[in-house]
């Protein structure tokens, strides 16, 4: 834009400002009538507007040539720009500080506060669906907050067992048993892991664990199934195996497992019958 163009533009702006100030004076009268302003405020503001209208009118009256053709000062713009950049940087620093790797099932922002019990249910669910990595991440999260959570330690042991990390699994179970020597779930899993290791010494310890569980007459079927397995395949004691499987069947196992157990019982009964 040329200098004369800028002057004309500035003149138009002054005209606009004068019109704005005059409108404001009109509004001021309406506001005092409506009681939005008190007398003192009205007089102060009115005098200020009138002075500003007079000043603008004077500048317009002096003509185009006397107007400053230079560009409007950029100081305020720079201040705004600086403020915006500062806020942007601050927000950037904060957002980086409060972000972390996304866990499975986690949304990209925010989070629902879940109790350790709810988290454990979630982890068990991942486990049942075969999503072991997801389950492990949730279990680790629980153990970070509650390192002695029996449920989380047990599930962690099951995950380690699934990954063939036997030693780690046993360590987790021992941690449970340190605090609760008669924890039947831990003893059952510990026994089941040990009896499958090819070592007579560990087999003996595993059987001891399972027998300790059964002595307590658990309401869950799994210890009877594991003990039945040992009786059938390791000890070759079919009567005991049948007894264990029948007890397990009386404890309402899932339908698929129940079918399998009934098959085993029939097979073993046939075998015993043939032997007799």
């Amino acid at each position: 834009m040329t200098a004369s163009g800028r002057r004309i533009d500035q003149l138009a702006r002054l005209e606009e400002e004068r019109s704005f100030l005059l409108n404001s004076l009109d509004d001021l009268d309406v506001e005092i009538r409506n009681g939005d302003l008190d007398e003192h405020e009205y007089v102060t503001i009115r005098n200020d507007y009138i002075a500003r209208v007079a000043a603008v009118s004077k500048r317009i009256g002096e003509g185009v040539e006397t107007l400053d053709a230079a560009a409007a000062p950029q100081k305020s713009r720079l201040i705004y720009l600086g403020l915006i950049i500062t806020l942007g940087v601050m927000a950037g620093v904060f957002v980086a500080q409060y972000s972390g790797l996304r866990q499975p099932g986690e949304t990209i922002t925010g989070e629902i506060e879940k109790s350790p019990r709810a988290l454990l249910a979630e982890a068990e669910n991942f486990f049942l669906q075969g999503e072991f990595d997801s389950s492990r991440l949730v279990v680790e999260e629980i153990l970070r907050d509650t390192p002695d959570s029996f449920g989380a330690l047990l599930l962690s042991a099951r995950l380690h067992e699934e990954a063939q990390e036997i030693l780690e699994a046993i360590r987790q179970l021992d941690q449970i048993l340190e605090n609760d020597v008669n924890n039947l779930d831990a003893l059952t899993l510990r026994g089941w892991i040990l009896v499958r290791i090819d070592s007579p010494e560990l087999l003996e310890e595993g059987v001891r664990n399972l027998d300790r569980v059964i002595k307590n007459k658990p309401k869950k079927f799994d210890a009877y199934v594991f003990r039945g397995y040992v009786a059938r395949y390791v000890e070759k004691d079919l009567e005991r195996a049948v007894l264990m499987y029948e007890t397990a069947l009386s404890l309402d196992p899932p339908p698929a497992m129940a079918d399998q157990l009934r098959l085993f019982v029939t097979e073993m009964n046939d075998e015993v019958g043939m032997r007799d």
Binding site: T44, V53, G88, V95, Y98, T109, G110, S115, A118, A121
Partner: protein, 652 residues
């Protein structure tokens, strides 16, 4: 047959929108006025088509017509009727159909309201903009997001919706309200575009669209609150807001929309902030599209998977068009929309409105940054990150408190300037309310600087709004509570109640988790709960465990947990014993083993939660009140039209 009728309906909608758009553009560009009237006929055809399509889909849902892929994928024979109807908006294609229906409703209503002014170029350009938006949505529905695709092999039963979407009646209302809000912003957006194109950037178009903006804002506010309520009543985690991306997507346009509702008053009263107001309105509409893109494109799961959805890139493209067009129009008309004059004093109504707008913009920026940051990081570095709740809580708490402070001060200020003496006198009442609230909350056990300060500011906001309503009713009787000022103050009271509920339930919530046998009791924050009995049964293929829990002094409640064979994790359905003081929130933490009568019960005591829902109702009431034209406000809008010299002479 149903599929064909539905498809025909969408095709009619697309034809109506496209032909209406072409007709009106031709009329505008060739200046052939008969086209304006004809465009209204095309609008009627579009609405007719859309109603047919929605009717066909609802009929298919109610009749279990599983030959439609949408019905087979989202409904079942066993689904109760209310949820069958609500299935329309339960999944992508149906929700876009609902969007189209609401859009048609708004466009038809706007066309009807402005039918006598259809020759006005501003109105015509606005209608053209609305029809262009309609073309986009009908285009989606006829192609990439068609709800009427059919299956070659028809299943005997459908898969059904996510169980979370069919276990509470709020699901039937909340999305509709939210969409009424989202879609409603199309009308003021279209008028803003019309004003920019025609260059008629005075205050006329704002007055014309005020009602539409208020309706959209009110619906969006209620929709968001209903969503929070649904989350509280259904999800079982005991909260109502988690800053998840879907919540953020709905909150962003609300923030810019709320900023606009305030700053537009400054423009109407003093002719200032024109560029800012246009930008806010354009941004609000753009954010509704961006929010839909976020929630419907699959981008939330992964930026690398979103391109697998054909709708994602289209939404992104539409969003880009809106942003580019908006920036171009504002740049093009930059000189004309520059406002003359400036804020006379920071201690004025307009000064605080400007500050409030700055805070709302900052709030929106923080939420937007937190929401898109993980997407940007993943796009750049392939790393999947999450932005945790502390970012939002810590960044937004001071902004929220500052906004509350402004809410208590701003209504007490005069336009232009307020002297310190007057200000001190006017603020005495709200300040006393604030201090009183703080003292009361401390005596009731509240602690911590920020929560107590927040409650105090809430009290002061309440005092300030009540004072304004009192003045209004003293001057104008019951009419003092209607109109924009009265309605606005009712909404402010609603916001203050929400602030009380939010702060108290966040900062002073207590909880416990107990393993209980029948007859066992537990106590949290003075509330005793007794586990009475458990009922373990099958509702069709779903195993339901429902516990009878007695809450002392409140009655017996039945939290439940359900395992759906088609859904991975069990769904906990909480039960809430509500009172004015606090909620006793009961939920079963895990599904018990079959045959076991031992439950794990989570008990949360959440103070003042019900105040939030009451606050929402007041916002709705305030919006309705603000929609009623106030004669005094109308009188103010009549401007005198005299020449500058005459007026200057008169004044001097």
């Amino acid at each position: 047959m149903t599929a064909s009728i539905g498809f025909l309906g969408i095709a009619l909608g697309l034809v109506g929108a496209s032909c209406g758009l072409i007709e009106i553009l031709l009329a505008l560009l060739v200046r052939k006025s008969s086209g304006f009237k004809r465009s209204l006929i095309w609008v009627a055809l579009m609405v007719f088509g859309c109603v047919i399509a929605v009717g066909a889909m609802e009929l298919a849902l109610l009749q279990n017509n599983f030959s439609l892929a949408y019905v087979a994928g989202n409904s079942t024979i066993e689904t109760p009727t209310i949820y069958k109807i609500a299935t329309l908006w339960g999944a992508l294609e149906g929700s876009l159909l609902l969007w189209a229906l609401l859009l048609c409703g708004y466009v038809a209503a706007a066309a009807w309201c402005f039918r006598t002014k259809i020759h006005d170029r501003l109105v015509a350009w606005s209608l053209a903009t609305m029809l262009a938006v309609c073309v986009f949505f009908f285009g989606l529905l006829i192609g990439p997001a068609s709800p009427f695709d059919t299956l070659t092999s028809v299943p005997l039963d459908g898969e059904g919706l996510n169980p979370l979407l069919r276990n509470h009646p709020l699901m039937a209302i909340h999305p509709v309200m939210l969409y009424l809000g989202y879609v409603g912003f199309t009308v003021p957006f279209a008028f803003a575009v019309g004003a920019l194109i025609t260059g008629r950037l005075g205050e006329g178009w704002l007055v014309a669209t005020r009602t539409w903006t208020l309706i959209a804002w009110g619906c969006l506010s209620i929709g968001i609150l209903l969503g929070a309520w649904w989350s509280y009543e259904v999800l079982g985690w005991g909260g109502y807001w988690a800053w998840d991306p879907v919540e953020n997507a709905s909150f962003l346009p609300w923030l810019t929309g709320t900023a606009f509702l305030h700053s537009v008053i400054v423009q109407e009263r003093r002719g200032m902030l024109r560029v800012w107001n246009l930008s806010l309105l354009l941004a609000t509409f753009a954010l509704t599209i961006f929010g839909t893109f976020l929630t419907r494109s699959g981008v939330i799961d992964s930026v690398h998977e979103f391109s697998a959805s054909s709708i994602g890139p289209l939404f992104l493209g539409f969003f880009a068009i809106i942003v580019v067009t908006s920036v171009f129009l504002i740049g093009w008309r930059g000189d004309r929309i520059r406002s003359p004059g400036s804020i006379d004093s920071p201690f004025s109504r307009e000064g605080t409105f400007l500050a409030n707008n700055f805070l709302f913009a900052l709030f929106a920026f923080v939420v937007l940054l937190g929401t898109i940051f993980p997407l940007l990081v993943e796009a750049v570095s392939n790393e999947q990150i999450a932005v945790g709740r502390p970012y939002f809580d810590r960044m937004l708490m001071p902004i929220g408190l500052a906004l509350l402070a402004l809410m208590s001060v701003s209504p007490m200020l005069s336009w232009r300037s307020t002297s310190f003496t007057t200000l001190a006198g006017k603020l005495l009442g709200p300040a006393a309310c604030g201090v009183g609230t703080m003292a009361l909350s401390i005596s009731l056990g509240a602690h911590g600087v920020w929560p107590v300060l927040g409650l105090g500011l809430g009290g002061s906001t309440l005092g300030s709004a009540a004072h304004q309503i009192l003045i209004g009713t003293r001057r104008h009787g019951w009419k003092g509570i209607i109109g924009r000022t009265g309605g606005g103050m009712i909404a402010h009271i609603g916001i203050a109640l929400i602030a009380f509920g939010f702060i108290a339930s966040t900062a002073f919530s207590e909880e416990g988790e107990f393993v209980l046998q029948p007859g066992d009791s537990a106590s949290v924050a003075g509330h005793e709960v007794t586990f009475v009995s458990v009922r373990d049964y099958f509702d069709g293929p779903n195993r339901v465990v429902s516990a009878q829990v007695k809450v002392e002094g409140r009655g017996t409640f039945a939290p439940a947990i359900t395992r759906y064979p088609t859904f991975g994790r069990p769904i906990s359905t909480p039960s809430v014993a509500t009172s004015w003081i606090d909620d006793v929130y009961l939920s079963l933490a895990a599904i018990p083993d079959e045959g076991m009568d031992r439950i794990t019960l989570r008990v949360l005591i959440k103070p003042l939660v019900v105040w939030m829902w009451m606050g929402g109702a007041l916002i709705g009431l305030g919006t309705l009140s603000a929609l009623i034209p106030n004669r005094r406000e109308l009188a103010k809008e009549e401007k005198e039209d005299s020449s500058s010299s005459e007026r200057l002479e008169a004044k001097l």
